[in-house]
Every structure is written in C-alpha cells, then in structure tokens.
C-alpha cells in the first residue's frame, strides 16, 4: 500500500494567481498521476509524472497551464497557473500499487479543493 500526503487540502484563490499543490508518497514510485474532478463530475486525468523526464499530458491539458515537477521518486507538485473560476475543482494525486500490475489499483491523496473567485 501507499500513503499519500497532499497539501493544501483546500484553498480559495483570486483570479489570475497560481497555486502549487504538493504530493508526498511514503514509498518510491515510478509514476504519479494528477487528476481533476470538477464539481459533481468524475475524475479526468491531467498528466502522468515520471521522475527524470517531462510529464505526459492528456488531451486538453497543457504544460503552461499545469506545470508539473517530479524531482524524486516520492514527491511531485502540480501548479494551476493563471487561474480562472473554471479551474475550481478538486485536484487529486495518485500512484499505482507497486506490488501489482499496471492499472490494477490506484492509491489517492485526500485531494485539494480549489475555489477561484
């Protein structure tokens, strides 16, 4: 299993500013995933963060808007840049169960609830 600490747990931000979300895992993992969950909606994958290489972004998400850092095997950050009210969502980091096969089980952080005014 993996324990993920994500912070901040919530924030209220002004339009045009940026927020950096941190995700710390208690074990070394190859891939870390960042998801967005808009109000009342399901999860959408933003990007996959690998240590030592640039993150891989999904369709509709770009590095300028959501820059990601992955300095080591236990830590990652996601920045939401130049925020607008449409960015109000829960942002979740996630890792795979390293004892299993790919895509067989994800562990999630507790999420960051972001409100943009």
């Amino acid at each position: 299993s993996a324990v993920i600490s994500q912070k901040p747990s919530r924030d209220i931000c002004q339009r045009g500013t940026s927020l950096t979300i941190q995700c710390q895992v208690d074990s070394q993992v190859t891939m870390m995933f960042w998801y967005r969950q808009q109000p009342g909606q399901s999860l959408t994958l933003i990007a996959t963060a690998n240590q030592g290489s640039e993150a891989t972004y999904e369709s509709g998400f770009v590095i300028d808007k959501f820059p990601i850092s992955r300095p080591n095997l236990t830590f990652s950050t996601l920045t939401v840049s130049n925020m607008s009210p449409e960015d109000s969502s829960i942002y979740l980091c996630s890792v795979e169960d390293s004892s299993g096969f790919t895509n067989e089980k994800l562990f999630f952080g507790s999420g960051t609830q972001l409100s943009v005014l």
């Binding site: 399901s42 999860l43 067989e104 994800l106 999630f108 609830q113």
Partner: protein, 112 residues
C-alpha cells in the same frame, strides 16, 4: 465517447437494504475496478475484476462483469450509514495502456 457510464446517478436507501450500482463501458477492457469517494476526499480502491472473471466477492461487496454486454454491477449488501459515498467504476482499456477511465459515479445515501 464516455468509457464508463454509471446508473443510477443517485441512490437513496435505508440502512440494512442492499444497494446495486451499474457501470457500462464501450470498448474492450483488461479489468474493471470500483472505487469509493467520501465527500470531498480522495478515492479508495474497493475491488477489481478481470476481463476473464464473471463474479467476485469481498466482504459485503459483490461485483459482476458481463463482457458481452460491456457492463458491471456493484452490490453492497446490508448497507450501513457509513456506506454513504460516491462510487465510481474505472476501466483499463485493452491496448490503450497507461490510464484508467473513470465513470460518472453513483451517489449513494444510506439513511439510518
């Protein structure tokens, strides 16, 4: 197109009753998973069923998978107020590699 679609969107039952949630998907999968999300929190993995399995049990949870109909169901027996949460199915699409696709979720409310 939406890979995982769930119904009902919302379900309200009394404690002790059974709750059934359904998930449909569109393309071939390697496995299908169910997750629970308590309000405003992260998701917790409940159970995984592989494409060559038809039924799986874990405690009060029973999952079925019908690959011919591209559908799955999650049954929670003898529900408790603590089961109140949103439940999501997630599929690992065959030959797509690398990510899970989450359904829209069912919001379950269990009244004491």
């Amino acid at each position: 197109s939406q890979q995982g679609e769930e119904d009902p969107q919302a379900l309200s039952i009394q404690e002790g009753e059974n709750a059934t949630m359904n998930c449909s998907y569109k393309t071939s999968i390697n496995n299908l998973q169910w997750y629970r999300q308590n309000s405003g929190r992260g998701l917790v993995h409940l159970i995984l069923i592989r494409s060559n399995e038809r039924e799986k049990h874990s405690g009060r949870l029973r999952v079925t998978l019908d690959t011919s109909k591209k559908s799955s169901s999650l049954l929670i027996t003898a529900s408790r107020a603590a089961d109140t949460a949103s439940y999501f199915c997630a599929t690992d699409k065959r030959n797509q590699g690398g990510k899970l696709i989450f359904g829209q979720g069912t919001e379950l409310s269990v009244k004491p």
